[in-house]
Symmetry: C2
Subunit: 292 residues, 2 copies
């Protein structure tokens, strides 16, 4: 089970994933666009690659935890896929469009590389605590080879079949639901506040009862107290994801009026200069509108 693993992208999620794999005893090679982020991992035992091409080896396993569609497409060049080659597997953890995942998968196949979509639901602290959840899709054999690796750092793995786009559809649907929950709490808590009820008390009641789930317990506290720092996931990344959701919905002829509303909240939050806050700050729109 102790495969060599390359990890491309050491952002808020890539770094704790790499740490976790090193701790589990894997032979890990890391690369990041700005190389300073590799230092802490090299100190923990990772190999440093100066270029993605140096990180991969024939028939190996490469994880990508990159920002968006174009970052994944650029990084997985023809040259890189050629080197990875037959029996190589790309475990793509970024939240990208299902369309891009399908396109990448086809391009991978030409080089004998398997593309496994494995977007993860987890804030950085959830990765550290190994309570994240992964949506998986891609070829059966490739999924079987990577599952034991993924199991070392997440709580749940949910398999959505062979369509390489499927896992990303579920990830986008889930991110939409998180963002909609932020707006929902923003509106509800603001109505309570303007009727003399503390945001903390309505948050406590609802997150301990009907809405006793991680999203409402964790983000509810953030929204109740307008605590939008530190940033685990930024507002511009939230806008990127809701745009992907609406593009996917439009491509499959699904009107999503609630997602439209959320998208406008993101745009407004960015217009108001909140790009440096956590995406929870989406919920501030309801307070603004109510003159608070």
């Amino acid at each position: 089970m102790f495969e060599k693993i390359a990890i491309l992208g050491l952002g808020n999620l890539g770094t704790p994933i790499a740490e976790s794999l090193i701790e589990s005893g894997f032979d890990v090679t890391v690369w990041n666009r700005s190389s300073s982020k590799t230092d802490v991992l090299v100190n923990k035992g990772a190999h440093r690659a100066g270029h993605p091409m140096e990180a991969v080896e024939a028939g190996g396993i490469v994880f990508s935890v990159l920002a968006d569609d174009s970052a994944v497409e650029e990084t997985f060049s023809e040259a890189l896929l050629g080197k990875l080659g037959v029996n190589g597997i790309h475990v793509s953890m970024s939240t990208i469009s299902p369309e891009c995942a399908r396109r990448l998968s086809q391009r991978h196949q030409l080089h004998g590389v398997s593309y496994v979509a494995a977007p993860i639901f987890a804030r950085p602290e959830a990765v550290k605590a190994k309570v994240g959840n992964i949506c998986l899709s891609g070829s059966v054999a490739a999924k079987e080879r990577v599952k034991p690796i993924l199991q070392t750092f997440v709580k749940g793995i949910y398999d959505f079949g062979e369509d390489p786009g499927a896992a990303n559809v579920v990830k986008l649907a889930g991110n939409f639901m998180i963002a909609a929950s932020l707006e929902m709490m923003g509106e509800a808590f603001t109505m309570a506040e303007k009727n003399g009820i503390s945001r903390q008390s309505i948050y406590e009641m609802l997150s301990q009862t009907l809405f006793a789930a991680p999203i409402f317990q964790n983000y509810g506290k953030i929204v109740a107290h307008h605590n939008y720092e530190p940033v685990a996931f930024s507002l511009p990344l939230g806008l990127k994801d809701i745009n992907l959701t609406l593009k996917t919905a439009s491509d499959s002829n699904v009107p999503m009026p609630m997602a439209d509303l959320i998208r406008n909240r993101f745009i407004s939050a960015i217009a108001k200069g909140r790009s440096d806050l956590d995406w929870g700050a989406l919920a501030k729109g309801a307070s603004d509108d109510a003159g608070l």
Copy 2:
């Protein structure tokens, strides 16, 4: 603790509440507009009242579980409040407007009667299982007298202070959040479905992980399979509540765009002839819009 209790209103919630109080050993008198609903409770040991005036006694405790503002205002006439009199307590469990609760409370005070707002979050089966939750507000002394009674049939009691309208503000905020969750799941599951992912599989993943809360687990199953019968809470009652939410929001200058969207979904569901379905059928709008 074994007080005499009158219960006015034996609908989907009033009946299991009355049953539970009878089983706990209270001396229960029941009244309902259509008297046939009293039979089953009389067989279990309740006294039958032919008129609300017969149900109440001086200084006693009266629960109301009625449909709306006007039903509560009409039932709690000057004559009835006069009979209930000093030390009498009205435990008002209906989802009514905070404004109406405040008006009722003032009128009660003129007769020495305490008004305790105690709207309950529970579908009928949750009342039977004693897992409902109550939002409470009103005078401290009256709340202390009724709490031991409420504790016999609910899981949690959340106190929102002395403003008689406060508990209903929280109840309306919570009902809005439930309805918004229905729409959220309707849109997300429809996007999944049109991308080849079964509604059941995305429901399972999300309700076991990020959204592992009763609302998503119970209503999610209903939405995933479009199982909108039997009716625990009807669509027209859902519209009544979202109208109260928006009225309360408007009165306190709180724009709630997500609640506006939900209101239009309720209106459309009723226009499509779905009044006899559970309010979960709100989520069918997203499927309709996507041509499913």
